[in-house]
């Protein structure tokens, strides 16, 4: 099995998000592999362990993206590719870059996270599948590969759908698919010696302009009542129900 994992580097989910001068500040933030993409890396490694083959990880990002790719290598990935994006790249541009690199290479399986925890758009991987003319199954909770077919248990709004798909296919990982491993010390040492291939849009012959533009970024503000109730549990329960009906008007 030749497996390609699409990976994005994101803020650690515990990070505070600060907006300054119309931008999200990322100077002092810990960057990690997007948690959903980490499930994809883990699944790729498990499939390689069962079926043989190679695992390649690819990411579109600036210089710091090497840290995430190096972690995937330390987990056990074989190869890593970084693509430097042009300014203001959106999902349309990123998908075109990823697909341009993958086109003509014979991967049996593409894996990616179901969504990224930063933009949360969940578009890029499915766009890549479309560009490569590949079927996809999103939000996998369980994945089995055998004889050119994948059987996927997928999350469909809380219900589980069992789907089969012919390979090559793209499958996105949902939480619950697996428990990502920690890189081992030998893995980390080995990863340090590996080369990360770095390409640009020009190297890939991709010349597309973004289709969307962000016109403003702002911090969330919510005015809350912050009203603490008092009395016995019974009194509090009664007061809350009254307040929800008469003051907040939500029931």
């Amino acid at each position: 099995m030749e497996i390609l994992v699409l990976l994005k580097q994101t803020f650690d989910t515990e990070a505070k998000v600060t907006v300054k001068d119309g931008r999200v500040v990322d100077d002092d933030v810990t960057l990690v592999i997007n948690p959903y993409d980490e499930y994809a890396v883990e699944e790729a490694l498990k499939i390689r362990e069962a079926h043989g083959g190679t695992v390649t990880v690819i990411s579109v990002g600036g210089d710091r993206v090497d840290e995430a790719l190096r972690r995937a290598l330390a987990m056990g990935a074989d190869e890593a590719v970084a693509i430097t994006p042009p300014e203001n790249a959106d999902e349309f541009v990123v998908a075109n870059l990823l697909a341009a690199w993958a086109k003509g290479k014979s991967f049996d399986l593409l894996l990616a996270g179901n969504v990224s925890v930063d933009t949360g758009a969940g578009q890029t991987a499915l766009r890549v599948a479309e560009l490569l003319g590949m079927p996809h199954v999103a939000a996998a909770l369980k994945l089995e590969v055998a004889g050119g077919t994948a059987t996927v248990h997928r999350d469909a709004e809380g219900d589980t759908e069992v789907v089969t798909v012919s390979l090559p296919a793209l499958i996105t990982a949902q939480q619950g698919l697996n428990e990502p491993r920690y890189p081992s010390v030998p893995g980390i040492m080995k990863a340090k010696r590996k080369q990360i291939a770095r390409l640009t849009a020009a190297d890939l012959g991709v010349d597309v302009a973004p289709k969307t533009a962000i016109t403003s970024v702002y911090q969330a503000t919510q005015n809350r009542r912050n009203r603490m109730l008092g009395g016995t549990a019974e009194e509090q329960a009664r007061e809350l129900v009254n307040l929800l009906r008469s003051e907040a008007k939500v029931v």
């Binding site: 969307t212 911090q219 009906r245």
Partner: protein, 322 residues
Amino acid sequence: MARNILVVAEVRNGQLRPVSFECIAAGRAIAEGGSVTAVLLSQADVDGSELIARGADRVVLVKGEHLKEYTPDGWLSALQQVYLAEKADVVLMGHTGIGRDLLPRFAMRNAAGMISDAIAVKLEGGQVVFTRPIYAGKAYVTQIVTEGLIVATIRPNNVAALEADAGRSGDVVQSEAAPVDLRTVVKEVVRQAATGVDLTAAKIVVAGGRGVKSAEGFKPLYELAEVLGAAVGASRAAADAGFCDYALQIGQTGKTVTPDLYIACGISGAIQHLAGMSASKVIVAINKDPEAPIFKVADYGIVGDLFEVVPLLTREFKALLG
């Protein structure tokens, strides 16, 4: 500029989904004299009149043996067929399980820009401007599609639907989807949503955290949810501890919810969790620890044991609503 809007409507459990009406309302707000057409890509036994009453000018009911269940190949091919016939300028759908799966591929097939999970849509200087959360609601952006076809999914429960007006009239037309090879096949669907209410579209969410202590501890939460017609959710701590399925998890990893009412039971309020629920309209927190950060984002707080308070709430709501 008059825009022709195509809304991909959805049926779940035999009913049109409220978010489909919300998308029609969003479409009306940006059509500027253009038309709003709702399309149903299923075998569902719906005649389309409700979509007209909710603001659509036209309804296209697409039939096809292969559309009974959602598959990306089947539905994308049918949507593309309708889109080309209708010459739409904007395609909208709910940010639902199917919307999230279908529209990115549709956008790419048409080399279009797409805005996912919009919570508001408006016209500004003749431009269609979407608002959407980033970092699961820790911040927001406004975003536009700069040229060509506009594709967007709209988060349930954020745009107000139009009141049903039975006096409105409009055409309902039937269409036949061309057959297509399905590369993905649905073998089985296992129903798991315990209350039958979809978490991301629910008007009320009752959520449990580490304080529920066990899988059994969710029982009083389900009882309260049933009385309220609410969905049950959980914090990452509860899911990680194995008290519930990850499908219930609300937070930056997990689902983002914006219900009218969020009742947090035994949830401390880690930043990861707050990201997924802090845009709820009204937040209630029940926690033993008066210092729990969840109280800082709450409208109403009760310091107490959820196992005592939640059953009392269930009783009070039953008396009120029953």
